[in-house]
């Protein structure tokens, strides 16, 4: 009797053994991980109640869609990312809580997101541009990147269509404006004092034009113009400000002005990709278990050993040994 030849099969076995041992004994490796610091500010003004998200069978209000998008994003962020939450109405953002690590506080964070509600709004007005500027300030303050969920519906309309000046440095705070809403103008649900829905906004319920401040240049040409009594002309303002759609051009303009990115709320995957592309990354060294790589190698070797080799070595090589 002699010892069996130390052939390829034996080598495969030994290498698999070494790999498995490595997987079992290898210490965790400090790997670089990119995380994000985010403060998410959600528009909770009246127009966000418009139900033009979701699908035909299950319409969803814009606010609900924003909540869902944010919640799904929170679930997909790298674990040690931090997320804070704020709301916007009137002309400013109000912080609900400062950024906290998202995984360790997951149910608190998602619980807070889920209860975002238009009833929290303290004023009916919706000065998107000013609110965005205040949210940017908030982001700068917290050293976090901004996610601003809004439909871009300014109420009252901007005076003369002029966007208020942004006095910060464009791009000093990075972030995304996330547009929420449909392309078609839809009616905005109206609620009474106790929060019951009582129909939709009608043309005379909202300001159709902003007639505060100075009249636009060339206002003299308007019918019924009078310098003191009717500087905006005598005709009543008409328009469809009582209907709402996603004002993408306005939001793109704001994004350009402030150096933020713009992304329309779509699938949660797309939002996460936009976050990856736009937001600042903070690198952390995270002890990571890497045993899975040698273990996978060992598994492949065993699969070759038991699966592939026998297939190919049906040849009668071992049979001819007795000659």
């Amino acid at each position: 009797m002699t010892l069996a030849r130390f052939d390829s099969k034996a080598w495969l076995l030994v290498v698999a053994l070494v790999a498995a041992l490595a997987a079992a004994l290898m210490p965790p490796l400090g790997l670089q991980q990119d995380v994000y610091d985010i403060v998410a500010v959600v528009d909770i003004t009246g127009s966000m109640n418009t139900r033009d998200m979701g699908d035909v069978g299950r319409p969803l209000s814009r606010l609900a869609a924003a909540r869902d998008g944010l919640e799904q994003l929170a679930a997909k962020l790298p674990c040690r990312s931090r997320i804070g939450l704020g709301v916007f109405t009137e002309r400013r953002a109000l912080l609900l809580f400062e950024p906290v690590p998202v995984c360790a506080n997951f149910d608190a964070v998602t619980g807070a997101i889920r209860q975002l509600d238009w009833r929290m709004a303290w004023e009916g007005d919706s000065y998107i541009a000013k609110g965005l500027y205040s949210a940017i300030e908030l982001g700068a303050n917290l050293d976090a990147d901004l996610l601003f969920f809004t439909d871009g519906h300014e109420a009252p309309p901007l005076a003369g269509g002029r966007v208020p000046e942004f006095d910060g440095k464009p791009g000093a705070v990075s972030g995304l404006i996330v547009g929420v809403g449909g392309d078609v103008k839809s009616s905005i649900p109206k609620f009474d004092d106790s929060g019951r829905e009582i129909g939709a906004y009608r043309p005379h319920d909202v300001a159709q034009d902003n007639r505060h401040g100075l009249p636009p240049a060339g206002g003299e040409a308007v019918a019924g113009w009078h310098p003191r009594n009717a500087p905006f002309g005598a005709a009543a303002a008409i328009g469809d400000e009582h209907l709402s759609s996603l004002r993408e051009p306005h939001l793109r303009e704001l994004a350009e002005l402030t150096g933020l990115g713009y992304r329309r709320l779509g699938s949660d995957r797309a939002l996460l990709d936009a976050v990856h592309q736009t937001l600042r990354r903070r690198s952390l060294v995270e002890p990571t278990e890497i045993g899975v790589y040698p273990a996978a190698a060992a598994l492949v070797l065993l699969a070759v050993l038991y699966g592939l080799l026998p297939l190919f070595s049906r040849a009668p090589s071992s049979r001819s040994k007795l000659t």
Binding site: M1, T2, L3, A4, R5, K9, A10, L13, V14, A16, L17, A20, L21, A23, A24, L25, G84, V87, L94, L95, L96, F97, E98, P99, V100, P101, A104, N105, D107, A108, V109, G111, A112, Q115, D117, R119, M120, A121, W122, E123, L138, N141, E289, G291, V292, A295, A296, A298, L299, L302, A303, L305, Y306, G307, P310, S318, R319, K321, L322, T323
Partner: protein, 332 residues
């Protein structure tokens, strides 16, 4: 005790583990006649054992790669504490100091002081659950009742940012009550109201609050941050002043709370330190037996699985090394 996989999809590869049961690893050796060799239990056991070792190695590697772990558990324990909703005033007057002026280097704003003491209150309440509501012109629920301390502290930290204009205490309290409604546990409940002013509460709203308080036992604490030269909550109005809510809303809110017939304490803080005293007193009072959930983190078993795979492979290698080849000249 529940075993779980992080990536259950690896189980699709589990049939690989059947391969060693079908395929023989050691080379078959020709032998002139086996007829005279009788059954040999030891050989059979060895044969079966080696095949099983192969299957075990593959299975263990698969489970390790799939992230085999002992799922985290939650166990219910009994401790001391309560479920507390902090209702915090964020009207713009909270941004002023106790002297009623803009905060200076020596005198921080009322909201900053409140934040400091509430932080220590939250950090010390080991088994408490906290929710945070803020109110001003409208009530806002900042955080539902949660035991995640870090999130509560983050919500408390957010209070010393510029506030909104008014103070609508009634709706703030209604919000806190509804937050308690959302929490089904049988814990002892409390509302801690921190404000520097009060408003007149409408008679109808008073009735609604009264009804809401009657639904469940709840303790109410009011930490009133009294600005210099303003009315206190305990002082009767001066001579010649009418004792009506419009003149002294704080005093009348206090009387309304007293009329609720619930455990209620009011603290008047005129200096930052007295906020600390009030909060410490509340912490001392709110120590009731409470069932809380303790989480044990998940335990990763991947390494154990790899070790088992290595052991099985070591067995196979050993068997391979011990294998002998029967050569022609040695055949008996």
């Amino acid at each position: 005790m529940a075993l779980a996989l992080s990536t259950p999809a690896v189980l699709w590869l589990a049939p690989l583990a059947l391969l060693p049961l079908i395929v023989r690893l050691h080379a078959p050796q020709p032998y002139p006649s086996l007829a005279w060799l009788g059954g040999d239990p030891l050989s059979t056991a060895l044969e079966v054992g080696l095949r099983l070792a192969g299957a075990l190695a593959i299975l263990a590697l698969l489970l390790g790669i799939g992230g085999l772990h002992l799922a985290g558990q939650t166990t219910r324990q009994i401790g001391n504490g309560a479920h507390i909703v902090l209702v915090i005033d964020r009207s713009s007057s909270m941004d002023d100091s106790f002297a009623g002026s803009r905060p200076t280097a020596e005198q921080a704003s009322k909201s900053a002081e409140a934040r400091r003491f509430l932080r220590s209150f939250v950090s010390n309440g080991e088994h408490d659950m906290f929710g945070v509501a803020i109110f001003s012109t409208a009530p806002l629920q900042a955080l539902p009742l949660t035991s995640h301390r870090e999130a509560v502290l983050a919500a408390v930290d957010a209070i010393d940012r510029p506030g909104l204009s008014e103070t609508d205490i009634a709706r703030g309290i209604a919000m806190a009550l509804s937050m308690h409604d959302d929490d089904p546990s049988a814990a002892s409940r409390a509302i801690v109201l921190v404000s520097d002013g009060a408003g007149v509460i409408d008679r109808r709203v008073q009735e609604k609050l009264r009804a809401a308080f009657r639904k469940r036992p709840i303790n109410l604490y009011w930490v009133f941050l009294r600005t210099a030269n303003t009315r206190g909550i305990f002082e009767p109005p001066g001579a010649g002043e009418r004792d009506v809510p419009q003149v002294a809303p704080e005093r009348h809110l206090h009387r309304f709370f007293e009329s609720l017939k619930i455990p209620y304490r009011a603290f008047e803080a005129e200096r930052p330190d007295s906020i600390g005293d009030a909060v410490a007193e509340i912490a001392r009072l709110e120590r009731h037996p409470i069932a809380y959930v303790e989480r044990t983190p998940a335990k990763n078993l991947s390494r154990l699985a790899y070790a088992i795979a290595a052991l099985a492979l070591a067995l196979l290698v050993a068997a391979r090394l011990a294998e002998v080849r029967i050569t022609a000249e040695r055949v008996p």
